[in-house]
Each structure stands twice: as structure tokens, then as C-alpha cells.
Symmetry: C2
Subunit: 113 residues, 2 copies
């Protein structure tokens, strides 16, 4: 246990704490970015930028198992990032939000440095 017993230490700690976002907000923020932290989900969203796609189409585009895609789509659905349209045997998925493009571009911007 370090003490850091400097002069204005306690004050700095309190001040910083007060100016930080709510604890809940920071947890939500982490959870939000967690959705974007998996390459399979990134690839799914990248594919959906082109327009709506059925599950098996996505699976073939990414060259991955249908089951894997379904599981990840479930997460994207839970976070309201994609929406589904059912037509016969197929489920067509599309992006639910225009924010996603912005978030992608911001990430890409940071990467290219």
C-alpha cells in the first residue's frame, strides 16, 4: 500500500474524482466498446455496410461457421447495433444505426498513424 502523502494529495484525489463521469457511465462505456473489440463482429458490421445480408451469406463472406455468425449477431442484436427482417426461411440483418459508421471511421483514423 503506497501512501503518496504529498501536500495537496488528498485534494487532488477528491477533485479528480468529482470531475470524472459517473461510475455507471464508465462501465457502460466499456461495455459499449467491448462490442467493437472482436474481429468477427467488426467483419460482420463491415459486410453490413454494403446493405442487408442473410446469415448464411455473412457466414460465407467471412468463411466462418453459420453458428458462429448467429452467436455474434445475437450480441449485436442485444446491443441494438443490427436489426433483423425475417422473410421465409431467411433472416436478413442490417445495421441499426448510423453512429456505427462514425465510430468505425474514428477508429480507422487513429489506426493510420
Amino acid at each position: 500500500m503506497s501512501e503518496c502523502t504529498h501536500a495537496s494529495h488528498r485534494e487532488l484525489v477528491n477533485n479528480t474524482r468529482e470531475n470524472m463521469p459517473e461510475l455507471d457511465t464508465m462501465f457502460e462505456l466499456a461495455d459499449f466498446f467491448k462490442v467493437f473489440s472482436d474481429s468477427t463482429r467488426i467483419r460482420i458490421m463491415s459486410a453490413l455496410f454494403q446493405g442487408e445480408l442473410s446469415v448464411c451469406c455473412i457466414a460465407e463472406i467471412l468463411n466462418m461457421e453459420q453458428s458462429t455468425i448467429s452467436h455474434q449477431l445475437r450480441i449485436l442484436r442485444r446491443e441494438n447495433l443490427v436489426k433483423v427482417r425475417k422473410d421465409g426461411k431467411q433472416s436478413y440483418y442490417s445495421l441499426a444505426d448510423d453512429h456505427i459508421r462514425q465510430i468505425f471511421e474514428m477508429g480507422l483514423e487513429h489506426i493510420s498513424e
Copy 2:
């Protein structure tokens, strides 16, 4: 193995693939967001928005072990999101990038819905 043997199926698959970002880029994108996907790191960055802080200060602000903070700072350092200034026994960390604020705000924007 599902087939999805529709008319323009193969064409759609190829078209979508071609218009997607490079595979490497999508992996990098996921890795980038992974840094923001942990609540401890989010809290550290939130604290650093107020200005530079020593390791033990951050630990006390978050009420977590010094070791935990050091480990997470290591990750933030590796991703070039924070920079260090050593002064005597202490290491003072600060945000390395103004992008971070934008990324935070974009996330917060999406959350509040």
C-alpha cells in the same frame, strides 16, 4: 453446411468481400477498440482527462491496487494512448492523444439513448 444457393448469391458474396476493408485493417480495428473495452482502463483515462497523475494517485482515485493500475497503464502505453514523465521516484502519466476525447464522446453519445 448451408448452401444458400440463390441466383445472384455468389456475385453478392464476391461484391461484398471486395468492398470490405482489408482483413488486417479489420483486425487492427478490433484490437484498437479492445483497449477501450475494459472499465479500469476507461476509468484511468477518465482520470487523466483532468491532467497528469502519478501511478499511486490513480490507484487511490480508483480505489484499486497499484499493481493493477501499473499493468493497465502498460497496455495503454503499448497502444500509445498515454505517455510517461519520470520525476524522481514517481511516474506521471498523461493522455498522449486528443483523439481519445472524441472517441469517449462518441461512445457517450451512443449510450445516452
